[in-house]
């Protein structure tokens, strides 16, 4: 096996990780915001339903959730899921949305009530108050915890292999059968570089948002 074809096979695997990462982020962030509204709802049943949901998702392993999404529809309802990638994305998006929702909730609840009251007496609607005044302050407060989750997400994408989605570590492991260990080791480098870039990016965002205090 020549070096180049191994590297290109690893790149193919890592493309899958990147795809899972990007799609999860893209869908889990807005979904997380919606779930956070649910967990702050004044209407009790919605609030408790959401809280129970978040508890279950955060309280069980992502690996188990992957298996459930993959096999439950087919075995229980005889509507098998059509693609493994779909199963991966459903499980990841729900799982990460639950974590994000708690970060959003914490951020939103940390904004002083006075900000909303100031908006109200200035004749703003509730949505104007949220989108024009509160949201930006929330973002500033949650950049650090979100960056933690995002970096965890990069590494979690390799869990997709448990339902046989050929992500980078699964690709690398194949080469151990041929007596090669370095492809497996080298996968770490992909993750390190990717997370290094993310760390720099989040550092940049934090710095950009540092123009004001409070």
């Amino acid at each position: 096996m020549e070096f180049q074809s191994i590297v290109s096979s690893l790149f193919e695997g890592f493309y899958v990780n990147c795809f899972i990462f990007a799609m999860t982020l893209l869908m889990a962030l807005p979904l997380g915001l919606i779930i956070s509204f649910g967990s702050m709802a004044k209407f009790r049943p919605i609030k408790w339903l959401t809280k129970t949901f978040v508890w279950i998702i955060r309280g069980t392993p992502l690996m188990l959730q992957l298996f459930v999404v993959m096999y439950a529809p087919g075995i229980l309802f005889e509507i098998p899921i059509n693609s493994r990638m779909t199963a991966v994305l459903i499980a990841f998006v729900i799982n990460y949305a639950a974590y994000f929702s708690e970060i959003f909730r914490g951020g939103i609840e940390s904004i002083p009530r006075g900000q909303y009251e100031a908006c109200q007496v200035l004749g703003m609607t509730k949505s104007q108050a949220f989108f024009k005044v509160v949201l930006f302050q929330v973002i500033k407060r949650i950049v650090a915890p979100i960056s933690n989750e995002v970096i965890t997400l990069v590494k979690d994408t390799s869990l997709a292999r448990v339902i046989s989605v050929a992500e980078i570590i699964m690709c690398a492991e194949r080469f151990t059968k041929k007596g090669l260990i370095w492809p497996l080791f080298s996968t770490g480098i992909y993750f390190l570089i990717f997370n290094g870039i993310l760390t720099l990016l989040f550092g940049y965002i934090e710095k950009k948002l540092d123009y004001y205090k409070g």
């Binding site: 900000q115 100031a118 109200q120 007496v121 200035l122 703003m124 005044v133 302050q137």
Partner: protein, 261 residues
Amino acid sequence: MSILEIKNLTKSFGKTEVLKGVSFSMEEGEVVSIIGSSGSGKTTLLRCANFLEKADSGQIFLDGNLFYDGQDKKKISPAELRQKQLNFGLVFQDFHLFPQYNVIDNVMLAPLLLAKEQEDYKQNKKEIEQQIRKNAEEILDRVGLSDKLNNYPCELSGGQKQRVSIARALALKPRILFFDEPTSALDPELTGEILKVIRKLASEHVTMVIVTHEINFAQGVSDKIIFMADGVVIEEGTPEEVIQNPKNERTRHFLHKMNEK
């Protein structure tokens, strides 16, 4: 006709009765100061008048028209509430400026959002925005902050922050401007600049209701003083009547205590 008339306003939080039937009225261009010890219900009265709290019963009249009725259990729609709210401005004790916007944007934000709802906004976008900016600059000049337009709230002193928040309220041209202890969160040496701004507004005949602990200031600036205790108005009248010659024992006691400080 009175611009504002409040009749028998009551408000309870749980079992605590904070307002037990408060009434007063004021004319356009007047300055009314509300004094009284902490817990007398002054702030709650302002918050009810500005719809930050819902009064349990009683009425508010604006220009003689029924404006709010506590007995009316029908829910006011958010749009209607906003329309009503815009008649009043409120300056908070703790400013509540928007930290991510600079001074001029803090003042312009609400008028801009409001302008976007005008029908001709899209055609005359530029002129409308220029007009709002010009207006904001003028108001900031009136409160003496024309050199701070591009500063952020975190870069300002408490007194400057409070002046921005006064400008922010004025930018919407409220019929009545309410102040909730505007100097209480400030260092003593900074209260003067706020009182000066309020005096200036009074001389320009801005209709104002001021909840304050600054008795001397209230005496100088007000047309009418209201003394509140335990959720009711104990005494009201001109500064001469209430502060120089209080009739009620509790007013005398309160003023005496304030003098000792």
